[in-house]
Symmetry: C3
Subunit: 346 residues, 3 copies
């Protein structure tokens, strides 16, 4: 499909500078622009590319004034990045969608499947499971007995939702992600560990997205809850009885131990580890690889293990490499001081 | 199913305080108790909830004496937590079980499958593979050619057991876990890395449980062995030729590099990393995120990278944030001392 | 199959010391040698095992001279380890191979599948997807619409290749690995995060091997590229728009954040984390658990967070445990110095 600068500017309420008849059929980053591609300029760092790009159309912010002649057609908009996101979404939505229940899918007789769904070959929908309208279930996804998945969800290939767990509306579960595996609960006995059956469930509320091979365990009793709008990257671990507040985002390989409550609008960098049985407030930001052993109040930007404020952390980190010199100097000072004292006490 | 306090007390050899006719049909945490739920009080921290809970029956320790009037029926037992675990297990076992080999499963003609199994739709059992009695194989699980799985195991959805690997009796493999993928072995050449074929196997002995998306690699030659009673949480990595001793437990996202031997009854916190080709003794406890570069003797509680005893580690960690002050003070001392020396030498 | 020392020596151009008629049918490590096994001695540390091993044939380096009588037949070769790798490869290649498209596989009518492939039961090949000659697709693998997989590849069970992604020739993808899941891109709004559609792809070039449950995300626009000869261990995360240079190897649980460029011939230890939007040069070696916040030039061996040269890092790390003593000593020095000054100013 092709779109002209005219059509795009009209959709975005933007202003055209250059050839209104220029057309595009794809998207590209500004440094990789090719004829027929639409790109954008939001970060001033990338401005030099504007004068070299082969892209046909560039979205720019309203206040942008080029300092040199520009070859592509510019479309001036309020926020170039937001407008790009809107166009990408439009592009995605325009793709043909598969629908229907493939004859090679397994749907248990007692399952209830909504309308306009796509249930792929080899997808499995268990007894009494529910799949909402317009939800897409890719090959090899498993929706366990009694599990419920809402409307407009996408379950990519190999997703597993264990029995009785619940997924809200408009959720995206990437390939290999697992919702509702047993919490890690064992009671030690002299002969070995005895399993504590995990009879609770896991709940993903509306608008949650979880990454490839990410795991959200079921609760021992009650529910592990991932609240509305949470986004988890790949290979994240959410343990039994955790509660993750709305609109919190976690980068890849974060792990949260059991029975911990995380607030809303938090941001965790990659590979962060959070201890069990603690509370993290709202709007808490943890830098990558932080290790968090105890509760943390709202509205803090922290990093490290245990986490501290960013500025002193980076200062301490910088001095870490001076430790051998400091150690040497400390011993020298001691020696010289003792020498002085001896002199004075003579 | 409903049970009365009378029935439960009789099963647990407990003593009833209150209405012996009270009935329950579910379980709940004490702070989430609802009518019809059984709960328990083991941790004294939760005692205040006893006087508010809506649960119908509460298991308490024999020596517990309430300080205020209590609404639910109490059942006094030797160990409330253990008794809860026993009831949960009973509850799990009472659930109806699926049996049979689904016509949509693939069973190779040369495979041997025991009795009273459930082999789900889209499960795959390869050539000469063996599945023991009463084992449950969920959808999309793969049991490779020549692989052997014991009795009373559960393989959840999407589990992969590579060719020739072995799983003992009463093992639980959670969704997406992988047993027997190739060890990471490559020989450098000027043109690139050449693969060292991994012709060994991976063995899980009896009573092993491994979490969702956890990986146990096959050996280069010989076997990677996870001994009896080991419990691994989600997203754990066990590399080729590792040997993990009986009853060792590892929290989520732990990684053990190749050819390392870990002893019995160890406990590793989340995100711990263990180097290759080393020995970890028995009953070693590593705190979360520890990095272990070299062998460690038995019976130690360590944390950090490299791991040290907990108390000095936490002390050093606490002083880390004072490093900038220390650095400043050290420079000040040097200056003042030099000044003094100058004065004295005048 | 059995081979004689004569046959093996002739294949390897080696020299026999001992019984040329000795036969072997399997491989073993020297410390686990059994009659009928071939083993090797490359690392001098293992020499003592040579005099005890029950193996029938041992590959040794040309210059090796035993100090005691040796029971097995020796075959002297230029490089015992390389020769072992060659034999293992031969052994693997001699195994019978499955071919054909199983009637229980799903192949979309518009897909193109090469010759001499094996497409297993429950494998899924989407619309317009391409599978090259001699490629093996295990059960429950998914090749998405428009995705292209080259020749001589192995896709183990449960691999997912998202739509339009590309895999080169001779690639190995282990069970549960995911190529082309959405990059982690969301734009914050007051109501929550809005998804940035990820319309790019992910590309694995020739001779790439990726481990079990490893994830390579697709690009926002353009492509995430894993260049020729890269080897990734299990549970690794490669984020959107990353570019990983040829022949770079990463141990398990490494994570690379988005839009980062890693050079050729790098080696990353386990659990290393690399920030987004940075450049790592060629031949960079990072020790396990390193955290890399900013760009790093070529030809360095670094460790830590931020990474520093190995020797000063280990020195600083060693002094970390002396911090409490240093802190105490610093305070003592201050006190004594103040005392001295007081004395002097009297």
């Amino acid at each position: 499909m092709e779109f002209s600068a005219q059509q795009i500017a009209s959709y975005l309420h933007g202003e055209i500078v250059g050839d209104a008849q220029a057309t595009v059929h794809t998207f590209a980053k500004i440094e990789e622009g090719v004829p027929g591609a639409l790109t954008f300029l939001a970060n001033p760092k990338y401005t030099p590319y504007l004068y070299e790009t082969q892209a046909s159309i560039v979205l720019v912010n309203k206040d942008f004034v080029p300092e040199h002649p520009v070859k592509p057609t510019l479309i001036k908009v309020d926020n170039a990045y937001d407008c790009l996101a809107r166009l990408l979404t439009l592009y995605e939505q325009s793709k043909p969608k598969k629908t229907g229940i493939d004859p090679l899918a397994f749907i248990a007789p007692t399952a209830r499947v909504g309308k306009d769904v796509w249930i792929a070959p080899f997808a499995y929908v268990g007894e009494n499971a529910v799949v909402g309208d317009r939800t897409v279930v890719h090959p090899h996804a498993t929706i366990g007995d009694g599990a419920r998945v809402g409307e407009d969800c996408t379950l990519y290939a190999g997703v597993t939702i264990y029995h009785d767990c619940r997924v809200g509306n408009r959720c995206v579960l990437h390939a290999g992600s697992v919702v509702g595996a047993d919490g890690f609960g064992f009671a030690p006995t002299p002969q070995g560990y005895e399993k504590i059956p995990q009879i609770g469930i896991a709940i993903l509320e509306d608008d949650v997205e979880i990454g490839a091979n990410t795991c959200v365990d079921r609760a021992t009793m009650g529910a592990t809850i991932v609240h509305r709008g949470v986004k988890l990257d790949n290979l994240v671990q959410i343990a039994h009885n955790d509660e993750i507040g709305s609109n919190t985002v976690m980068a890849a390989q974060v792990g949260v131990a059991g029975s911990t409550k995380v607030g809303e609008w938090c941001m965790f960098g990659g590979q962060v580890g959070i201890a069990g049985h603690i509370h993290i407030g709202d709007r808490v930001v943890f830098g990558a690889q932080s290790g968090v052993p105890s509760s943390v109040k709202s509205d803090q930007r922290l990093i490290g293990a245990p986490p501290m404020e960013e500025k002193p952390f980076f200062k301490s980190q910088a001095i870490f490499r001076k430790l051998p010199d400091m150690y040497f100097e400390l011993n020298a000072l001691r020696k010289e001081l003792n020498e002085l004292k001896k002199q004075l006490n003579k």
